[in-house]
């Protein structure tokens, strides 16, 4: 597998310009001859579809939900970063670049991250022009808030619904193109596999989720914008349909998968309350500005929080990190909370929670001030848990939130399969080993609005493609494989369900294993144990999974089963990747790689690279390739929060 990043030459600030100039173009009259498939309508997919159609390409767009407006991006709350420096507080493209690359713990490509910072400003202008109702100051200018990992105020927001408003903006641009005939939209379709002809991506096979029909679609290029794989853990803050299927199918057809073990775990989520729980809800990180995190000093102390005297409380973050206290980065906060719970000091009915206490802040600033800042979050918390944070401490626990790993792409966002591109959370490109808050929305829209059209033009301008048809043997054979696989999934469903397992039971088992052994802290022993156990879980799944109904109708159990089948394979390369990354970096602690003070120790001498996995067959071990990361313009530094 060749990993040519196509990083342009020249000074950092000129690379993107140089690249655009060097890339080939397609003249406007010729663009309509090319058909582009876009899978996914989140920020990345919706913006790419609209933009390519505006330029004249024939675009065919697919999504799982009943409407493109409902993609997982809709749920993002906090905001989107840009280097506008409207606040005149010292921000610049270079600073946004630096914060992002440092936040990623120096595991991303400099050139890609710099381009992201460059186009960030265009994104804000574009969204304003679409009518996105960003928050404004009284004078009518755009408002900003500050977010973790930055000392400047550069985050643009629309109440607590930034993702919704940005997605509705992209959806409106997409809708306009659907109306004009530039985009043909296929909702309630799931991409089941990728079709490659003569070494190039030439189409996909989809399942119509309403009636189960398998459909072939041809194209001159295929763009995946299918989001992250956090649901491998079963419980996460992702939407229920978020999955790895599209990326995983691409991997099995030859696309390299980069850094699958880089997963972000968010410290402030509402804790799990029972086995029936289906997903986790994120509470904004801003709560840590005023809340104090603690657990009882004594393990097993089950008294009500208000009856535990000050001297018997353990404010573990403040104690361990005197200078940052409760504001340590996401990974440090998450890890320490889990550590306390593992020691039996967790609170709540499950023992898997820590307190986030606003008592002191209320005494200091008054109830009114605190409500003004966090009123809506307190309300949301109360709705879900029936507890009021004004009277008793909140309970929080970390949860899987975002996946930095994804399909390997070059500077053009093309995977190792020619003609197959990956945008948004499903690629690995910009966040290294850790993503800063408010940067995923920025990346999704940068990829879709401002990067991909240059890449597509270059690809079309330099590639000669023969016509393909949906009845070509390549298409027919992939469709047959997809059909056979669905049959295999359904084969246990004749007869009674006794002695069989449900899709969710298996998914939960896999999720628990990954969470415990391949979560925020990992070690060799745990990872090897996981690697041994996963094949067994997979076997039970295929031998015993019971799926009611048939494949030729709307069948939600079958949909979930297909996704879980892929997570069961994918989990294994996550663990393999974690095993080979023998350093702590970004979001995860590798227990064997710690400083004397038990802090994460990055190992630049041996691990300053992107790990890229190549599929070699179901029975073979995948092969690890490395793309070395070199830093010409910044000097990697070690983090310290003491």
């Amino acid at each position: 597998m060749e990993l040519t990043s196509r990083t342009p030459s020249g000074p950092l600030a000129e690379k993107w310009d140089n690249h655009r100039f060097a890339n080939k173009l397609v003249n406007p009259a010729n663009r309509r001859k090319y058909k582009i498939i876009v899978v996914g309508t989140g920020l990345a997919g919706a913006s790419a579809s609209a933009t390519l159609a505006e330029q004249g390409y024939q675009v065919h767009t697919f999504c799982i939900q009943d409407s493109p407006r409902r993609a997982h991006s809709i749920a993002a709350q906090g905001g989107i970063n840009a280097a506008k420096n409207y606040q005149n507080d010292g921000d610049s493209i270079h600073r946004l670049f630096y914060d992002t690359i440092k936040g990623g713990d120096f595991r991303a490509r400099e050139a890609n991250v710099y381009r992201l910072a460059q186009v960030s400003n265009n994104i804000i202008d574009q969204c304003v022009a679409q009518g996105v109702p960003f928050a404004r100051e009284y004078g009518g200018t755009l408002a900003n808030r500050s977010f973790g990992g930055a000392q400047v105020s550069r985050t643009f927001y629309a109440r607590g619904q930034t993702g919704q408003q940005l997605l509705l903006g992209a959806y409106s641009a997409l809708s306009r193109q659907i109306h004009k005939g530039g985009v043909k939209m296929y909702p309630r379709r799931e991409m089941m596999d990728l079709v490659i002809v003569d070494g190039r991506a030439r189409g996909i096979v989809t399942r119509n989720l309403i009636n189960g029909t398998l459909e072939n679609h041809t194209a001159d290029a295929v763009i995946l914008a299918t989001g992250g794989y956090g649901n491998a853990y079963f419980l996460s803050t992702n939407a229920m349909a978020s999955n790895v299927t599209a990326s995983w199918r691409a991997y099995k057809q030859g696309a390299g998968f980069a850094n699958p073990c880089f997963v972000q775990i968010h410290p402030t989520c509402i804790p799990v309350h029972g086995d029936y729980q289906s997903k986790l809800t994120l509470m904004s990180e801003s709560l840590r500005n005023d809340g104090r995190v603690w657990v009882p000093l004594a393990a097993g102390d089950k008294r009500a929080p208000s009856t535990i005297p000050e001297a018997e409380r353990d404010y573990f973050l403040e104690k361990k990190y005197p200078s940052f206290g409760n504001l340590v980065p996401r990974d440090v906060a998450s890890r320490n909370a889990k550590e306390q719970c593992d020691q039996g000091k967790g609170v709540g009915s499950t023992g898997l929670a820590v307190y986030l206490d606003f008592g002191d802040a209320i005494k200091r600033d008054s109830q009114e001030t605190i409500l003004k800042k966090y009123g809506n979050l307190f309300q949301m918390y109360e709705k879900i848990t029936a507890g009021n944070p004004l009277n008793e401490p909140m309970m929080i626990y970390p949860a899987v939130h975002y996946t930095m790993g994804g399909l390997w792409v070059d500077y053009d966002l093309m995977t190792t399969i020619p003609g197959l591109f990956a945008l948004g959370e499903c690629n690995f490109s910009d966040h290294g080993a850790n993503r800063l808050g408010a940067s995923a929305l920025m990346q999704g829209l940068a990829d879709g609005y401002f990067v991909i059209s240059t890449s597509i033009a270059h690809y079309m301008g330099t590639t000669k493609l023969d016509a393909v048809s949906i009845t070509d043997p390549h298409f027919l054979s992939i469709q047959k494989n997809v059909g056979d696989r669905l049959h295999r999934l359904l084969r246990n469903s004749n007869g009674s369900p006794t002695g069989k397992v449900t899709v969710d039971e298996i998914h939960k088992e896999l999720g628990k294993l990954l969470w415990n052994n391949c979560g925020m802290a990992r070690n060799r022993q745990g990872l090897e144990e996981a690697l041994e156990k996963i094949p067994g879980i997979r076997e039970t799944f295929w031998d015993k999974v019971y799926i009611p109904g048939t494949g030729s109708e709307l069948n939600q159990s079958l949909e979930r089963a297909g996704r879980v089948a892929d997570f069961l394979e994918f989990g294994e390369i996550m663990v393999r990747d974690a095993l080979t990354r023998e350093e702590s970096c970004g979001c995860h602690l590798r227990e064997e790689s710690q400083t004397e003070e038990n802090e994460a120790k990055r190992d630049d001498a041996n691990f300053s690279h992107v790990s890229v996995w190549e599929y070699k067959g179901d029975e073979e071990t995948p092969v690890l390739h490395k793309e070395p990361l070199t830093f010409e313009f910044v000097t990697p530094s070690q983090r310290s929060y003491k």
Binding site: A75, I124, A129, Q130, L554, S557
Partner: protein, 251 residues
Amino acid sequence: MSTIDLTLQIWRQKNSDSLGNLQTYTLTGISTDMSFLEMLDVLNEKLTKEGKDPVAFDHDCREGICGMCGSVINGIAHGPEKETTLCQLHMRNFKTGDILVVEPFRSRAFPIRKDLIVDRSAFDRIIQSGGYVSVNTGGTPDGNAIPIPAETAELAMDAAACIGCGACVAACPNGAAMLFTSAKISQLCLLPQGKVERKARALAMVKIMDEEGFGNCSNERECEAVCPKGISIRNIARMNREFIAAALFEG
């Protein structure tokens, strides 16, 4: 942890072409901390284990923002709690012995696909007819080039908060899509960016709304009462003004 026992009567319908009916299920030991959809998950897991077909229902974010979920519970779209989507409705709103009738969002314009799943693509077609500002990517002015008063931005945001769930249509005795359509028209006509096309937009969107089979507004205010995002019927008045102004101009 407190639990309750319930009787559910759920609309079951195999597909668009078949007839449906209500079927009765009992559930015991439902934790009051569960969301309504988690309660349906529990039912579905039970049905699966009994070799029966689980209840099909739409959902995705389970955070009240994607607009995918929604059913009518005892006659109320999204259930009894105000300004709450079905996924954010918790079982502590119910008590042991309750009988819950669960039906899909019904409307002429929303054909049923299976059980509680309906086809709301008519909403997409309303937006496609004009629910946007016609700008291409690139070449837009600086975000601060046109100042917008904070109050205007807030009003636009109030309208933009619509999640497109369709509860307003299901609740309306006439099956009108006025609240949904007016929310988008309002958002865009309040903002300077949307003013340029306001007339064409109002005409086009209202026309499609009628063609799709949605009814007319007779001021019942049922839509506002069930809307999970608190979209105000003042938006309908604003849409009517936009439409009349545009129609006069055209005529």
